[in-house]
């Protein structure tokens, strides 16, 4: 079953456009949603949550159309955002008591468990929590109301490596039984190298690739060659940079020809993002 199925979403803003955004997330997996700031990650997420009106397109969550079953489906969606705070002066206890009223399947036992596991003190105010603790609190809330799809918008931004790793381990634990699926937007790609099963890559409002992580990386090659070799391949490169040794450039693996005799290696997610960003710059 698909936890999330986005088909041909279009949305035009005065100075930005989502064009035919489509991707699918299989139930029980983690999908990393990557792209530069302003590429359309947050707009896409807002479309999923029905917070912006799409010009066209369809979004299905857990097999049902979001436009038709928004309220039922929101019962099953958990949302956490790094860096944006709600009602920071309230105590966790107060906030939880308000939130739980909205969810039919609220499970107090689960909530208590996660408070203990995440070492969250109910009597603290939101403002007193660290960034990582806030994300954990959001996750505790989401899991206690029985969320099956977690949408995490930049949950690791502003976290130190230890807190980040801890969160990533938590995410992996969540999908371990195959019931919960996670869509995880970030621009910190190293987070995803470890835990993501799928990658969706958005550039300037368009999905460049959505699929399994290793396949995604292997669909590109990072070339290292001499300045003389550059002319031979220049047109096929997504972008490149020169240095005193020659050039380094990114190329779709399908365009690579072994007979060129150029050193090629599988790039990291970060390298793919960087070279795409460089391409964008050239056209601006």
């Amino acid at each position: 079953m698909l936890a999330l199925d986005i088909r041909n979403v279009n949305k035009t803003y005065p100075n930005f456009q989502l064009r035919n955004v489509s991707f699918q997330l299989e139930k029980g997996y983690i999908m990393g949603f990557i792209g530069a700031n302003g590429a359309g990650k947050t707009t896409t997420i807002k479309s999923i949550l029905n917070m912006t009106r799409m010009d066209s397109g369809e979004i299905h969550v857990l097999g049902r159309n979001m436009a038709e079953y928004e309220l039922e489906l929101k019962q099953e969606i958990g949302y956490a955002m790094g860096g944006v705070d709600f009602y920071t002066r309230s105590k966790l206890k107060t906030l939880t008591n308000v939130i739980k009223k909205f969810y039919a399947k609220w499970d107090e036992g689960t909530y208590r468990n996660y408070l203990r596991r995440f070492k969250l003190d109910e009597n603290k105010r939101i403002a007193e929590l660290s960034t990582g603790m806030k994300v954990k609190y959001s996750i505790a809330i989401a899991l206690s109301h029985g969320a099956k799809l977690l949408i995490l918008d930049e949950p690791t931004s502003g976290l130190d490596p230890v807190a980040r790793n801890e969160l990533l381990d938590i995410f992996q634990g969540l999908v371990a039984d195959g019931e919960i699926s996670i869509l995880f937007s970030t621009h910190i790609t190293s987070d995803l190298e470890k835990c993501a099963d799928y990658i969706t890559f958005i550039v300037d409002g368009q999905i460049v690739h959505s699929g399994e992580k290793e396949e995604f990386k292997e669909s590109y090659l990072l070339l290292n060659g001499s300045a003389a070799q550059l002319n031979q391949v220049k047109d096929r490169l997504i972008s490149y940079r020169m240095n005193s040794f020659g050039f380094t450039g990114l190329i779709p693996a399908s365009d690579f020809d072994n007979s060129w005799n150029i050193k090629a290696a599988t790039p990291s997610l970060e390298e793919i993002m960087v070279y795409y960003a460089k391409k964008e710059d050239e056209y601006v």
């Binding site: 969606i77 955002m81 705070d85 709600f86 308000v98």
Partner: protein, 217 residues
């Protein structure tokens, strides 16, 4: 809907704002004062503070991810505002009647706090709501201009009716009189005021819903 109102009450409205109706109401004890000011304090102080809380605490985002209809979000907010207004008027009216029995011999230059006056207050809040709520829901976020326009209209209404009440002998007779005929008329004005208040709040809610459905969170 009820949960949404309770959310606002428990999270966004600082508790002492529930004491304000008492505090403002106590101002009714000033003999012969311009009592229109008392309910206006609500528009001047409570509304901007509470709506600023919504804005600063990202209420719109917070609520939008929860399983609630946009329609209900507006309805709950209108209920909160109208409820607050009702609370202010009721408490002020209680203090008003205390004030009247405390000082039986005061000559009222401004409207005395009788039923007719409270009817006018309901109309004043009706106008406030009709302007403030739909204007606010154009963004569901910025409230500055909406508040300015609504408060101006409410104050204009208060000012003009008070001026007519002083200038026109007929109107003066109705609002300042204590005879049986006048009291009946004042009761009628109060009921009309409540009807207008309810009707305008409902219309404000409808207009606001229509606008809010277009809002991109």
């Amino acid at each position: 809907m009820y949960n949404l109102v309770m959310k606002d009450v428990r999270l966004a409205v600082p508790p002492f704002f529930f004491l304000f109706p008492l505090l403002f109401g106590a101002l009714m004890l000033i003999p012969g004062w311009i009592y229109f000011v008392v309910p206006l304090y609500f528009c001047w102080i409570t509304i901007p503070n509470v709506f600023n809380q919504f804005k600063a605490q990202n209420d719109l985002m917070f609520t939008s991810v929860m399983p609630v209809a946009k329609r209900d979000m507006v309805k709950a907010r209108v209920t909160l505002v109208a409820g607050f207004e009702l609370l202010h008027i009721v408490i002020a009216a209680i203090f008003g009647s205390i004030s009247m029995s405390l000082y039986p011999n005061v000559t009222y230059y401004f409207f005395p706090p009788n039923m007719g006056f409270w009817g006018l207050n309901f109309v004043m809040f009706a106008i406030f709501n009709l302007i403030f709520i739909p204007m606010f829901y154009k963004t569901a976020y910025k409230f500055g201009w909406a508040l300015l326009a609504a408060v101006t209209a409410a104050m204009l209404f208060a000012g003009i009716t008070q001026w007519i009440g002083i200038q026109s002998p007929v109107v003066n007779e109705i609002f300042y009189g204590t005879g049986a005929q006048q009291v009946r008329l004042q009761a009628f004005i109060l009921i009309s005021g409540i009807v207008i208040f309810s009707a305008f709040s409902v219309i404000a809610n409808r207009l606001a819903v229509k606008r809010f459905l277009q809002v991109e969170v």
